[in-house]
Symmetry: C2
Subunit: 386 residues, 2 copies
């Protein structure tokens, strides 16, 4: 397996390759435990308290750090240390890169490309009054989204771990369990492995018995016969996430899966197929969304109120191109083009009143000729036998 | 004990009291698991994915949230839900507060008051082109620093837990242990209690055998006779942190604590005494720092390269007034005035070449008449008997 050091080195080489001549990428951060800089996490595991600057151009990687932070910054970053003031150092180090354009981590559209705080932005403006700043979002979206081999291997491992946990859950579910108990069952699996849930202990897994899921997560609601069991779950393993939705049904005594469910499931599955067929290098995010969305509405189901897919990586919502509709709240994200080596979720569903949510989510990586499944697809609504 | 709900309610009431008539405090955040908003954490445990806005004025607390995020926002926030676009809703909700001034969470000086990303700032400017924005830092510094009774109780409990763990460590340390082994010993204590280290698993505790500590933390260096053992450790318990430094000595066979150590320790302790005597409501941060710093240099030791103390709370470095020198890199933080109910660390030390670091750190709360110790003070360099 790849070590963290290998992974950071691989990503740094990718970043230098994707930067253009004359571009300087400047990451400005501090107290990165309380306030992580999502772009820095791609390149370094450093723990930083004081103001710290990472300067990357095609041929040079330098950092400016406070004395006590400097030792936590790994090679190949060449670290300059300050005690009282870094202004002169910052100016001279920026000049040493002779940049024509300085890219900063801000983006109205993408939280993962928006790691620069407004206060640090004001500090940079004051320290470098002549500098021409621009958003790093386009470059960073590409860097973050196109996964290196080490990153793909880690995501695949996180997918397999989540699948194993979900299989165990489906074998152990009991009538009368609350959603919170099912959640706790998966949390125990995570603790056994020393892992974390992909999107926090409070909301992951998101378990819904006989109802529409919400980001508020699992509740005291108890499992009864005649309910759909919906799980939205992912594992964060060695820094990378998986994100899967599965759906099960607990039948009433002597009954099978209701016809409404067996009618809805193939539509949901087909909508994901359509999205996967559409997902290839060069296509725009909203074009992938549109085919999946139309499959649902053409079948007479209501339109779902979210995007069909998002990038998956260090974060569950890893930024970059969104496979989403052109709604104002998504900004420019659905306009991006899909690229090779990007990893996406494909997720959507149909709410059946009185039964629950028929929702699926699979994880795929984009190859030159199209999508490759990272997850083992769900083939049918699994009926849990008492 | 106070519940989280009580604690959020107490802090929200404090915020409304400290806001002036006509002021609207506007928190804008999203994906707050990957990118936490340190100010929002004071008021709500909500987990948010989409763009979310919290609007607080003296008599009104409203929030605007995406459909799936809304259920995780607790009362008394009145939540308005959006699906596709929030611009009109944001405008009307801001207008409903009739603000003369809108305060945003940005600050060049204080990372904990700098939770607004530059990208979200640009979005606010675009959505509210007429609005007059200002920094919330002054208000927020006061709010964050002045701890409510529930917050003080939690910090005190975190201090006591860290003290108990350090006592256990000092009783179990072995010659030949590496710094990393000592770290692992404390990590086991944390895991047993289901707690987290105050500033992350990688850097907390920071253990140094016979050397100057750095933020890079513990190493493979092994404990030998004739070394000072320095620990910098804190516990994060129910959301609040402690932060303590202790120093021990492992004697050479047949020898006691070297004279250099017994000479330095009282100077370090006296410098902390002086800072504590100076620490009372109304004094400026740099004035507290100056008396401690002068105690060290007057005794002929080199000046330490960091601040004498910082606020302690949800974060180890909790922002607000810094008990630090007027160095450019500290910006305006040392100019702040100390206020009642603030909780500070007092920390400093002296490096003794060939022996290690004689460093102490205590935690105090500011009362009307001066500092009250939250930690049991270290009285002497504890000599660890083989």
């Amino acid at each position: 397996m790849f070590s963290d050091t290998d992974l950071y080195a691989e990503k740094l080489a990718q970043a230098q390759q994707e930067l253009k001549e004359g571009e300087l990428w400047l990451i400005a951060t501090r107290e990165n435990l309380e306030h992580p800089e999502p772009a820095l996490s791609l390149l370094s595991g450093a723990h930083l308290t004081w103001d710290t600057f990472f300067l990357l151009s095609r041929h040079k990687a330098t950092a400016i750090a406070g004395r006590f932070d400097a030792p936590s910054i790994e090679a190949p970053w060449q670290v300059q240390i300050y005690d009282e003031d870094y202004t002169a150092l910052l100016r001279s180090e920026v000049a040493a890169h002779s940049p024509q354009r300085i890219l900063l981590d801000y983006s109205p559209n993408n939280p993962m490309m928006d790691g620069l705080s407004h206060g640090m932005y004001l500090k940079l403006k004051a320290a470098l009054p002549e500098a021409e700043f621009g958003s790093a979002a386009e470059f960073l979206g590409g860097l973050r989204s196109a996964k290196t081999p080490a990153e793909q291997a880690r995501i695949k491992a996180a997918v397999e771990m989540a699948e194993a946990h979900l299989e165990e859950l489906s074998a152990h579910l009991h009538l009368g369990w609350s959603e919170l108990q099912a959640m706790e069952y998966l949390h125990e699996r995570l603790r056994e492995e020393g892992l974390e849930p992909a999107w926090g202990w409070n909301g992951c897994p998101n378990i819904s018995f006989g109802r529409m899921p919400s980001h508020a997560g699992a509740t005291e609601k108890r499992l009864e016969p005649g309910m759909l069991i919906h799980t939205d779950y992912g594992v964060r393993m060695r820094g990378y996430c998986s994100d899967l939705q599965r759906v099960y049904y607990w039948p009433r005594p002597g009954e099978g899966v209701p016809e409404e469910v067996t009618r809805a499931f193939p539509v949901v599955r087909r909508a994901i197929d359509r999205a996967a067929e559409q997902l290839r290098p060069g296509v725009k995010g909203y074009e992938v969304d549109a085919v999946a969305r139309a499959t649902i509405t053409d079948a007479g189901y209501p339109e779902y109120k979210y995007a069909t897919g998002h990038n998956l990586g260090r974060a569950t919502h890893d930024g970059g191109t969104l496979l989403g509709p052109r709604w104002p709240r998504y900004g420019q994200s659905p306009e991006g083009r899909v690229r090779e080596d990007e990893v996406y979720t494909l997720e959507l569903g149909v709410m059946l009143e009185g039964l629950g949510y028929v929702g699926l989510e699979e994880d795929v990586v984009v190859r030159p000729n199209g999508a490759e499944w990272l997850s083992r697809r769900q083939e049918a609504v699994y009926c849990l036998e008492p």
